[in-house]
């Protein structure tokens, strides 16, 4: 009797006991509100920064009264123009070069004997700490390439950093590329040069643009490797960091500058994600 009661009890309660926490009705609301909180944590500081940049006393933390005086100060002060220009130039160069090289490598990689192993080697820099890679490139640029640290050493560091990302984006398209289209084009009379420009290039275009944008943004935001490789050259983020760290009086200007940078990069990012995810999926 006792035994049968025991088995009866366990058979009816155990599965429910075991699974109950995973059936809790609060998981979905928790996920929803947790997600909303995360979104708030991401976007509120950015919006607050923009708000502060148009406030009279940003360091007080009170938005009102509004004023454009920091923007005026920013445009009156020309010290930031040079690092900003250097950053843009390096980022443009990194974007173009990594898109081009990633396209070349991304087309060749799927046809090699061991694409997986090679890909791993290419992607490893993603997991190498920026400090280590920066230090390594510092030695490489100075003693092996005998480069004067500055614009070109920064460019090399940024390129090494951005290339794996660009390659990944290109590979999404090249690994799925139907080589029979190239055969069809050459069968119809196109030279290999012609079939590349008429068939392969337009079909890889979204990936190439994505790779270039990614390279641009990664270079534009890069600090850690730049510190090692810059010599006396200043890029935008490095200059921002120096200003924020040393002169308190410059901080309001930096708020304005950071807001401008944000307004430039956000649309770029949005465009890139649209290209990579919306356009690529369709084709």
């Amino acid at each position: 009797m006792a035994i049968s009661e025991h088995t009866h009890l366990t058979s009816t309660t155990t599965p429910q006991d075991r699974g109950e926490w995973s059936y809790w009705s609060g998981w979905k609301p928790l996920g929803k509100w947790g997600g909303l909180l995360m979104l708030f944590c991401i976007y509120f500081p950015l919006a607050w920064l923009a708000l502060m940049s148009i406030s009279e006393r940003p360091l007080s933390g009170i938005p009102l009264p509004f004023s454009l005086q920091h923007y005026r100060a920013l445009f009156a002060d020309t010290k930031w123009v040079e690092p900003f220009g250097a950053s843009i130039l390096i980022a443009l160069l990194v974007g173009i070069v990594s898109a081009t090289v990633a396209t070349l490598v991304g087309r060749a990689l799927p046809r090699t004997r061991n694409p997986g192993g090679l890909l791993l080697l290419f992607l490893l820099p993603l997991f190498v700490p920026g400090m280590s890679l920066g230090a390594a490139l510092f030695i490489f640029a100075r003693s092996v390439l005998e480069l004067k640290l500055g614009f070109w050493s920064i460019f090399i560091g940024h390129f090494v950093w951005a290339f794996p990302f660009s390659l990944l984006i290109i590979l999404v398209l090249t690994t799925r590329f139907d080589n029979r289209l190239i055969e069809a084009a050459s069968d119809l009379g196109a030279s290999s040069w012609r079939s590349f420009w008429d068939i392969e290039f337009p079909l890889l275009m979204p990936g190439i643009i994505g790779a270039g944008l990614f390279g641009f943004l990664l270079s534009f935001n890069e600090v850690l490797r730049t510190i090692f490789l810059r010599g006396t050259e200043k890029t935008m983020p490095v200059w921002n960091w120096i200003m924020a760290a040393s002169q308190q009086s410059q901080v309001p200007i930096i708020f304005a500058l950071a807001t401008i940078v944000l307004l430039v990069t956000l649309p770029l990012l949005a465009g890139m994600f649209w290209l990579v995810f919306a356009r690529l999926d369709k084709s």
Partner: protein, 365 residues
């Protein structure tokens, strides 16, 4: 047979192609006349697609004696420099171009002025009844429409030879049958030489002027559809062309194109002798189609006296398929399969099967 008079538009002599250690084409030679519809028939792995790729230039053969298109030696030339185009099995249409742009591509790379190219592309699309869809994207077309676009794209440059790699393979049966007759009509209208690859003996028989049957990288037999269907030269050809009954035996006599074979069980029958048949006394096989067989009530009726081959046997199985009925009869020479298209009486007395000597072929075993 004016083959010797007119220069063949396609001439392939002694082509050998290996993928690593695998021989895909084993010293094959092939010719096509101008305006001919030539079908290369074979199962997968027979080398038929490799043959097509060697002709188009997408594959450079390991070794080739002669490879000429329209009298021009194309050995070592890239596909773009050969006067032939391919309709690919998967169509390989350019997804980022419209239907009209796809069709005009061959003209574009030949630097045909834009307006002329457009006009010719529209004519080619009219040929396949798709001019109304010229501005569509490829993704918006059905399988049958894509097939037609691929055909128009390949034919628009008026190549000497059009190569077709199982172009109907991906279509459903109804569409396939429609396209078969349409393809033949287009081929006749253009007067173009078609080299058509298929694994379907039905397609080969329906469409071709000449069929080349390939197996294991070699040409097994080549001839008119009716030759392959009624006069297979080898056991493989007979099996591939759907001969249901292949009975082993021994060649006991040969007179012109007549041969006699002693089957298992000691019965001697007569049939048409294959050219490759060996000497009297060697092993041979007899091939007969199921629908050429008839059932008799007894083995010793009038049929045998009329010159027909008769085998005593008993009906084992009968399967009704609607349009026809398949019957299986056990005889001393082996199991015989029959297919009857007429109405089958439900209760039928069966004592023997019979067939005419001209309906069966004696092959080297």
């Amino acid at each position: 047979m004016d083959e010797t008079v007119e220069q063949p538009i396609l001439e392939v002599v002694d082509v050998l192609h290996k993928y690593g250690s695998v021989t895909a084409l084993d010293h094959v030679s092939l010719q096509a006349k101008r305006g001919e519809f030539l079908t290369i028939l074979g199962s997968s792995g027979s080398g038929k697609t490799t043959m097509l790729r060697v002709i188009s230039g997408l594959e450079q053969p390991t070794q080739v004696g002669k490879l000429a298109i329209g009298g021009v030696d194309v050995r070592g030339k890239p596909p773009s420099k050969r006067n032939c185009t391919t309709v690919f099995q998967n169509y390989a249409l350019f997804p980022h171009m419209s239907v009209a742009e796809n069709v005009a591509y061959g003209l574009k790379v030949r630097n045909v002025p834009r307006e002329d190219a457009r006009k010719q592309a529209m004519q080619a699309l009219a040929m396949v009844q798709l001019e109304s869809k010229s501005e569509r994207r490829i993704a918006q077309l059905s399988g049958g429409e894509r097939q037609r676009v691929a055909l128009a794209r390949a034919a628009v440059t008026r190549p000497a030879i059009l190569l077709l790699d199982e172009p109907l393979g991906a279509l459903d049966e109804r569409l396939r049958i429609d396209m078969q007759s349409e393809l033949v009509e287009i081929q006749r209208a253009l007067g173009m030489t078609f080299v058509y690859i298929t694994h379907s003996q039905e397609e080969a028989l329906t469409m071709s002027d000449r069929v080349v049957l390939m197996s294991h990288g070699r040409i097994e037999q080549s001839g008119r559809p009716v030759d392959l269907f009624d006069r297979p030269a080898t056991l493989f050809a007979a099996g591939f062309m759907g001969y249901e009954n292949i009975l082993p035996g021994r060649l006991t006599g040969r007179q012109g194109d007549q041969a006699t074979v002693e089957l298992a069980g000691g019965i001697t029958v007569r049939g048409v002798a294959s050219e490759a048949l060996g000497a009297v006394g060697t092993q041979a096989a007899l091939a007969v189609r199921a629908e050429r067989m008839a059932l008799l009530a007894t083995a010793d009726g009038d049929a045998g006296r009329d010159g027909a081959n008769v085998l005593a046997g008993t009906l084992r199985k009968q399967i009704y398929h609607g349009k026809y009925t398949d019957q299986t009869v056990d005889t001393a020479a082996g199991t015989i399969r029959l297919r009857r298209w007429d109405r089958v009486p439900s209760a039928e007395q069966v004592g023997a099967v019979a067939w005419q000597p001209e309906d069966c072929i004696v092959l080297p075993a």
